[in-house]
Amino acid sequence: MTTADVSRSTIVVFVLFAIQYTLLDSVRVLGAHPDIMLLLPVSAGYVGGPERGAVFGFAGGLVADLFLPTTFGLSALVGCLLGYGVGLATEGLVRSSWWLPVVVAAAATATGLVAYAILGSLLGEPKQLTVFLTPALSVATPAAAILAIPVLRLVAWAVPPAPSRAHQVGSIR
């Protein structure tokens, strides 16, 4: 990645974080809110491949963890694994369908939330699985499907496509 790519990436991380922290945290259904910070590693992995997805997931997760009351580092771990996993899973896909990123975003967000709750339970907070997970899934997963395309386009502006996908740039942007 060039210096310009790093600058654009930094801008994207902070723009998405600002939207989450100032706007989306106020959107409340069943006590839960949309989580755009999970879409960051998903989009980065989808566009840039597993390595870039992991880096964006780690960076975005650390930024989010600074403002969350839960265990510090948990969002970074989930983010880097999620970005890596999405990058690997979508590496060989032909991206000719408009609904593919929407499905990927929804499924990956749900996976990320479940992983977060399981890891939180392992760290001594079992109620994350039994109390918080269902409302979070009910709200954040459909919200991820709705926000997938705009977030993907924003992240694609900052993340260069993975070498294996350079020929598919037109279908992403």
Partner: protein, 280 residues
């Protein structure tokens, strides 16, 4: 081709391994409390840096959101307004009726030397954010260390206990609500006093009250107060919740008790932070 793929795959694997190890290290430091001071300092600095941005956006967005919310909920707001007016009238009547009782109680207090929260200094804060995480029940206030607020301080509002401060920075603080599963408070009930532990069970859910002996004398609507036992996390005599249900079976070792928080948590707008430290 195979030779060019191997270095890329190796670098990719190395990247994810390094990031996972870094994440696990950070989690371990926070979990064990080893990096607590450093991590807390970084989080406070982050909050202090971002607070002006949050306030600026909030100042723009809140009136817009309120306009649409008011337009959508106009009918419900009218009904709520009428209901509140009726409640205010009822409360004013009770204040007058309670004044005679209060005078008598003050005299008893002087005899019994009961600790009262009235003697504790408080700072009033406005709720400026809700649940930053989908996995915690918290609120954010616009008062922080510059107003004397610090971690561990109790927060009260409405009719009783709201929660406890868990993070504080210059211009704000985060409060863990009584409904958060990680929240626990020692309570007392009945006369002679029985003691139990009230635990949060999740947003909008009743509190679970544990360590109540089977057959204990309980009543629906009975108010649970903070016990204020030695080295307690909260001063004594703060209303916490009212008992909504209790039951036990012949083989159970404790009564299954549920209690509804007295504070109207969904409608909180202003709260008081008690400038009091646990164990004080």
């Amino acid at each position: 081709m195979a030779r060019r793929r191997r270095p890329r795959r190796s670098r990719r694997s190395l990247t994810i391994v390094l990031l996972v190890l870094a994440s696990i290290t950070i989690i371990t430091l926070d979990y064990r409390g080893g990096g607590h001071g450093a991590i807390s300092a970084v989080k406070r600095a982050a909050h202090d840096t971002f607070s002006p941005v949050q306030r600026g956006v909030d100042a723009v967005v809140r009136p817009i959101g309120s306009f649409f919310a008011g337009a959508v909920h106009y009918g419900a707001l009218q009904q709520q307004n009428a209901k509140l007016r009726a409640e205010i009238g009822d409360l004013e009547r009770r204040v007058l009726e309670g004044s005679a009782t209060r005078q008598e109680l003050e005299q008893l207090e002087q005899l019994e030397h009961l600790p009262w929260i009235d003697g504790i200094q408080t700072v009033t804060g406005e709720v400026v954010g809700l649940n930053t995480s989908n996995f915690a029940a918290t609120i954010q206030l616009n008062v922080g260390t510059s107003s004397g607020v610090d971690e561990g301080m109790p927060v009260v509002g409405g009719a009783g206990l709201v929660g406890q401060v868990i993070e504080a920075w210059k211009s704000g603080s985060t409060v863990r609500l009584v409904t958060d599963p990680r929240f626990a408070v020692s309570v007392r009930f009945g006369s002679p006093a029985g003691y139990a532990l009230a635990l949060g069970e999740g947003v909008s859910k009743a509190l679970a009250v544990q360590y109540v002996a089977p057959g204990a004398s309980l009543h629906r609507g009975e108010v649970l107060m903070t016990s204020g036992l030695q080295n307690a996390s909260f001063p004594s005599d703060i209303p916490v919740a009212t008992i909504t249900s209790f039951s036990s079976t012949p083989s159970s070792t404790q009564e299954a008790v549920s209690a509804k928080p007295v504070a109207d948590l969904p409608a909180l707008q202003y709260v008081d932070v008690m400038l009091w430290y646990p164990g004080q």
